[in-house]
């Protein structure tokens, strides 16, 4: 079956306003996420020549605030030694590498050079705040003579005063940990895995210490898998545990996924974050269809920057909490749209979306308890609250809460711009059992939606391809009444290439 693109919007009309996307070409994993003391750097897997994966360079953008991104020249090229695959960047402030002039330091990137039969870890450093990099003459800095060994993440572990590298032995489903005093010589410390869901390949490990809400911290190891994620293709899972500078030990044999939908991959965290919780960015896509989504000139979108923490769930297991970096500076005037605070079963309310490329919705709603003594099969047994973004082309994006089973859905199946056998229509999440109240924080931005549920306890990220822009919002209560305690709808101001207008 040939994928049927159908009637689609133009490249420009799908381009997000507050999510980073490449001007041209193909973008996948975020790389080298680092704050250099002045600004945020987003490097990324980049084919500058065509909107398809291949000929991988490190693209580059910088930002003062994680939303306003400035395009920068390609930072690391494909070379005869191979493509520049994923990796990380650290501030070598104290010149542990000895690569910088005495008394200075700077950004160091560690990444995989991928030749057809060899993947090894390379180092490059920058003396101009990350704009250009010089490759280390004795590269590779780490080579196990393997064809499947990639995506180094490096961070400084203060208690043991050394650099730690996490890197994927992809086909073996292991994460190897190495230590170094100078970023140049690496000694293996331990391995983790196979663990959780393995898929075909492990990729893009990220290990970091994450604050637990209310105090303390735990270590979290993120491992992306592709293909073979349970919803198909690529996805990122995580393990919570301890790290003593040598070995990561999970606190249980369970695994969890970062996202309940299927378009969030290769999550990476910024190093050298000045303040606040850890900040992550993921690639809003899935390898199953990322090269076939509607486009002529560019493909690839990064997620919103997300602040991450941990909190215990009702069974006292620590789960990931994700919330978007503060959006209030991006907000325009709140829409003058006030739904009724009380919505009876069968009622709905609708409002136009304010004119803007991107929109933010925040709301809290409690669904009535299931009436007692219903006859079996009475449809009163389902009490659902639904938020739709829709248009006059009979397209609708549906986000719904099935209150009596405490499950949420995200359904993009009634959008008409893209059809593909791997482009799954709907996703769902199990929320806290017996909890009929839900809070939703939704960001809709052209070809993307991100749904943060119950203050970040669950997150769903999905690409969207409406054939016509979604321009209305509807709330509906079905099967049971609902009480809204909070509702806000904001237009969000364009931040990516805003000075150029929407291109």
């Amino acid at each position: 079956m040939t994928p049927t693109p159908g009637t689609t919007l133009s490249d420009a009309e799908y381009r997000p306003a507050i999510h980073f996307s490449p001007r041209i070409g193909f973008m996948n994993d975020p790389n080298g996420l680092v704050h250099d003391g002045t600004q945020w750097h987003l490097y990324y897997q980049f084919d500058p020549f065509a909107p398809y994966a291949g000929r991988v360079h490190w693209g580059h953008a910088t930002s003062p605030d994680l939303y306003h991104w400035q395009d920068q020249p390609v930072a690391i090229d494909q070379t005869p030694a191979g493509e520049a695959f994923s990796g990380s960047a650290v501030m070598d402030a104290h010149n542990t590498s000895g690569l910088f002039p005495e008394g200075t330091g700077g950004l160091v990137a560690l990444y995989t050079r991928a030749a057809p039969d060899r993947q090894s870890q390379y180092l490059a450093w920058s003396t101009d705040s990350g704009l250009t990099f010089t490759e280390y003459a004795q590269n590779p800095v780490l080579d196990l003579q393997l064809s499947s060994f990639r995506d180094p993440q490096v961070f400084f572990h203060a208690p043991t005063q050394r650099w730690i590298m996490c890197v994927a032995l992809s086909r073996d489903h292991q994460i190897a940990f190495f230590g170094s005093s100078n970023l140049l010589q690496w000694t293996e410390l331990s391995r983790f895995g196979p663990s959780g869901m393995t898929g075909v390949d492990y990729e893009c490990p990220n290990l970091l210490e994450v604050p637990i809400e209310g105090g303390k911290t735990a270590w979290v190891l993120f491992v992306s898998i592709n293909p073979g994620a349970p919803q198909g293709g690529s996805a990122t899972q995580y393990f919570v545990g301890t790290f003593d500078g040598t070995r990561f030990v999970p606190e249980s044999d369970t695994t969890e996924f970062v996202d309940f939908a299927k378009d969030f991959y290769a999550l990476q965290f910024f190093t050298n974050v000045p303040s606040g919780n850890p900040v992550s960015i993921g690639w809003l896509n899935n390898w199953q269809y990322c090269q076939e989504t509607p486009a002529n000139s560019w493909r690839g979108v990064m997620s919103l920057p997300r602040r991450v923490s941990l909190a215990p769930d009702t069974t006292q297991r620590l789960k990931l909490i994700q919330r978007p970096e503060d959006l209030t500076p991006l907000r325009g005037t709140a829409a003058d749209a006030t739904p009724p605070s009380r919505m009876d079963a069968g009622s709905s309310w609708e409002t136009p979306l304010p004119a803007s490329a991107a929109h933010e919705v925040r709301m809290s709603v409690e669904i009535d308890a299931q009436p007692a003594g219903l006859p079996p099969g009475d449809k009163g047994r389902s009490g659902r609250f639904v938020l739709n973004f829709l248009n006059s082309n009979e397209e609708t994006l549906s986000i719904g809460f099935d209150a009596f089973t405490a499950q949420l859905w995200l359904d993009r199946g009634k959008l008409k711009g893209f059809s593909h056998p791997f482009f799954t229509n709907s996703f769902s999440a199990a929320l806290t059992p017996d909890q009929r109240k839900i809070t939703l924080h939704i960001v809709l931005d052209k070809c993307s939606v991100e749904v943060f549920v119950n203050n970040g306890q669950q997150t769903g990220s999905a690409l969207l391809f409406p054939a016509t822009p979604l321009d209305r919002l509807r709330l509906s209560a079905t099967g049971a009444g609902a009480t809204l305690s909070h509702f806000e709808l904001f237009p969000l101001k364009q931040t990516v290439r805003a000075e150029e207008g929407q291109i």
Copy 2:
């Protein structure tokens, strides 16, 4: 949003011909699967009064061959002590329980009585080969004073000469193991979990020794979860390891799911199997929509009986192999339909399905290698082979192989009889990397399809609701040519209530 049933076929037209379904009412988990020396028993969770979950009894059917099922009267009733939730049945041939007349033995059922605030394990025995059961006077035989403690599976462990019970501490995400010499007094031996993916509840554990193809055996623990499975709602995962009569120890910290789609739950194995590999049956459904699928009088379908073994994958990890119980006795005359052995890219071939309620397809196909030196983005980069079941109502069920990424899809999204936000349209599986050859064994039976890939290495099970019967089969090669080495299409004879015709 109210689920939109659309135009649907009648209850009778969705009723499978070779899969067991209840004559009326609602059926979920298989229970008490046992061979009594003469015939196979299928008990099942059953509301005889309405096609909705509730008022749970044990329904019952018997079969000489796992395909021809004879309805039997309800075997275990709901009582004032609670509903008769899931459980198992064993042959107490040597009267270890002392419940049978001296020198005789018989079937013993162990199951959960579920009151609103208490779930405990009950025992009942049968002196008429499983038709009727007498509840033990000192029930419960196992009560931990818990509200979430259910689904006992019992088997005899020969090396330690005792009965073993596996039972779910559902909300705690643990499986507890108990031992007994007489089925009446139970002593806790160990616990397993939390492990793998937990969802909200663990349910329906099954532990058994499974042969490894080529010799030896390993123990496999199956744990169903609901809700919160990664594709939404309910699903069954498994762990491979060892069991010494006291403790199950997994051989790794990984988890795998039994099915790559989302309609296979509460898998249970037969006890006392006369010969051959272990035999399982699962419930072909998902708790997210099982009470809302198109029906007026009945809901619920069991999977095909499946013979199960283990085999190492390319990374030497043991994976589950599932193959349907021998279907050859059900076959009618093979369709006189021979696709070309060579199909060029862009070509397709079509044949009517032979007149029959159910159909079986077996085929092997190898997709051409990706041409070298293609320009990026050339659609030659995807080589796909697609099998469609379709009709003149523009409905199609699509099963496709994306050869260059070695992934399979199963897409029911273009059938028009049922739409529901949780009724996910498509599913996929990652197959052996770099393997461009695939074998498919497909059974299409009215409202169900089961796809066995590469001789049982992957299995996908899905409910289907076409608005009009699917009556044609089409093969297509897209992006790359394909060579068919094998193709067979059989009508399958009705086996369930065949004497009554299709009711």
